[in-house]
């Protein structure tokens, strides 16, 4: 009996030790990412904080680091988001509603779903080539804000559709059935019972997709977004530039002052991203309470 008990105690001690070791291992795995991110943030903060002045927002690009700003890039990014947001919201949510609520479970819908999921993982440069062929050349939009916004819309559409689909699917079946029981038709059910409770999820997906779009460079370089633009776009057919392109250009300059500007630009971009993600969380909380 004694022997058995002590053996048991040894076993437990060993298991505890393994548990402790694995705990440490997992904590280390998490911290690798966090530490790397912190190091990056601190590095950028040290480099960029001194350049985070009003000039950065008020000036156009310049050969002199002291006078250089990213006004046209910030405004370009904002305009692009402003154009894409409604288009991609309507197309993305519309497609998701059709796929989830109206389309049957046939082979065609399955194929479409598979396609959309695959598209969500396609490298962004491919969308750049698509945008160049379709919007810039075939539709003759040239290298305009509109061509850029359309290309980015196509880039984020699969992400929005998938997120919206998940959100719609998460709405309990009982809600739909309750609506039908009250005599509502399909559209009434979708618009008044399903959509409102799926909205937080959809909005989160849309905002996350937008924050991906704002950081994308490759497709825009492909369709010919420019580097030096010393005016603000007056119409959607004007040439434009966006923040990541300006940052990349400053980063590749030889002068260290431009590297500091690039770091400041990264800070602005990061702040904007955080703000958008924060807005996503707030919206989710706000709407999920009302249901």
């Amino acid at each position: 009996m004694d022997l058995l008990r002590s053996a048991n105690r040894e076993q437990i001690a060993r298991r505890r030790k393994i548990d402790f070791c694995l705990h440490l291992l997992f904590a280390a795995a998490t911290s690798v990412g966090v530490v790397a991110l912190c190091a990056l943030l601190i590095d950028i903060l040290i480099d960029g904080i001194g350049r985070l002045r009003p000039e950065l927002f008020e000036h156009f690009p310049s050969r002199r680091a002291d006078r250089a700003g990213m006004k046209s890039a910030i405004v370009g990014s904002m305009y692009m988001l402003g154009i894409m947001l409604p288009i991609s919201f309507m197309l993305g949510v519309g497609a998701a509603i059709w796929l989830e609520e109206y389309a049957g479970r046939g082979r065609l819908t399955r194929l479409i779903r598979l396609n959309i999921r695959t598209l969500a993982g396609v490298p962004s440069i491919v969308y750049g080539i698509l945008g160049l062929t379709l919007f810039v050349r075939m539709l003759m939009l040239q290298r305009s804000l509109l061509a850029g916004a359309f290309t980015m819309t196509i880039l984020v559409l699969p992400i929005i559709i998938v997120a919206a689909q998940e959100a719609l699917r998460a709405v309990p079946k009982s809600r739909r059935e309750a609506a039908y029981a009250l005599g509502a038709n399909k559209w009434q059910t979708v618009s008044r019972a399903v959509l409102p409770s799926a909205l937080p999820g959809i909005l989160t997906g849309v905002i996350l997709a937008m924050s991906r779009a704002i950081g994308e460079t490759a497709p825009l370089i492909m369709i010919g977004a420019l580097t030096y633009v010393a005016f603000l776009p007056k119409s959607v057919l004007d040439p434009f530039t966006v923040m990541p392109i300006q940052i990349f250009n400053w980063m590749s300059r030889p002068q260290p002052e431009f590297h500091e500007l690039a770091a400041a630009g990264i800070l602005v971009l990061l702040a904007l991203l955080l703000l958008m993600n924060f807005a996503a969380i707030l919206l989710r909380n706000k709407y999920s309470k009302q249901i």
Binding site: F57, K71, V75
Partner: protein, 351 residues
């Protein structure tokens, strides 16, 4: 908790608005800086003489140099091409905005090859290039019926650099340089380069094969034999990466534009190159007078002849470019051409 949440949403929106306002309000304040002549020139349409002279004075202040009275032009000029030439074109475009605020100049960085592709498709009137046009590209232009003028705008001295702790390299001949970098090179250590040097392993850093810098090096040093591609060489399209590579490897050697050496003289040691008449190190003077040979290379812009003739704003911009780029070149780390060379280039476009 819910108070907190309700309080935050307006806060976030307010923050977004502040950001947007900061960008927007710049419009007004900016007038004082870059758009300085915008208001003056804008008023000249109605009131005439006195405002014009004011605009002219401002122009001369901005380093225009060319005192001729200019008619007010408008339109947009799209330029694309080499990212090496970009800082020069950006500087010129920035100054030109003070002279002709209604001409909107945009500059892209698709690379020399990408720029020529668009140039020969007739999409852009001016292409930036860090090497002369290739025969294949010239053929595309010819087939599209696009005649062009090549203008040299500045020099860049390709600088060969080694690590700061490298105390054995005093100079390299172009034969040695070729032996180090050429495809199929058997050079493993510095001892393989010249007798008496230590058997320190050599690590090479080169711009990628897409860059005009590589093209020029391949032609001038490697005699088009191509660069080696093995475990000892690293390529990067970003010259700052090359700088860091050489600075971090005792046996490192690399080459890139003079501006990147000039900004990193504390981290790198430049190697004088012996092109047959004694070792010469790159500097503003040796690049300008041509003694730093064969590694000082001219940079170009290519201008569509039809645009030059039919669009006054293009001609005026090119005239301004040739007239002012010399003074701006040093600002961005390039070497201006001799004055008589600029006069030659200006004569090509009849300005």
């Amino acid at each position: 908790m819910s108070m907190l949440r309700k309080g935050f949403l307006p806060f976030v929106m307010a923050a977004v608005m502040v950001l947007a306002a900061a960008c927007g309000s710049g419009n007004g304040e900016n007038g004082g800086n870059e758009g300085g002549t915008t208001s003056a020139a804008g008023g000249s349409g109605g009131s005439g003489g006195s405002v014009d002279s004011q605009a002219k004075a401002a122009k001369e202040n901005a380093g225009g140099g060319n005192g001729e009275q200019q008619p007010k032009l408008s339109g947009s000029i799209e330029i694309d091409g080499s990212s090496t030439v970009y800082p020069l074109t950006e500087a010129v475009a920035e100054e030109y905005a003070a002279e002709q605020p209604d001409v909107r100049v945009t500059v892209g960085t698709s690379g020399t090859g990408g720029g020529f592709e668009r140039f020969c498709a007739g999409e852009i009137p001016i292409a930036d290039a860090s090497r002369p046009i290739k025969d294949s590209e010239a053929q595309v232009c010819a087939e599209a019926g696009i005649a062009y003028t090549e203008l040299s705008i500045a020099y860049d001295g390709l600088s060969v650099v080694v690590n700061k702790d490298n105390d054995w390299v005093d100079y390299l001949t172009i034969e040695e340089l070729k032996r180090i970098f050429v495809a199929g090179s058997g050079v493993r250590t510095w001892a393989d380069v010249r007798e008496g040097w230590p058997a320190e392993e050599i690590t090479l850093f080169s711009p990628g094969a897409d860059s005009g810098t590589y093209d020029y090096f391949n032609e001038a040093i490697l005699e088009k034999a191509g660069i080696r591609s093995d475990g000892q060489i690293s390529f990067s399209e970003d010259d700052n990466t090359l700088v860091r590579g050489v600075a971090g490897n005792k046996g490192g050697i690399g080459y890139f534009g003079y501006a990147y050496y000039e900004e990193n003289t504390d981290k790198l040691k430049v190697v004088p190159i012996d092109g047959g008449s004694g070792p010469v190190a790159p500097s503003l003077d040796t690049i300008k007078d041509g003694t730093y040979s064969p590694l000082s290379r001219p940079l170009f812009i290519y201008v569509n002849n039809q645009a030059l003739e039919e669009r006054p704003e293009v001609k005026d911009f090119v005239r301004f470019y040739i007239g002012n780029v010399g003074g701006l070149a040093k600002d961005v780390g390039y070497v201006p051409l001799p004055d008589e060379k600029y006069a030659e280039e200006a004569a090509k476009i009849g300005a």
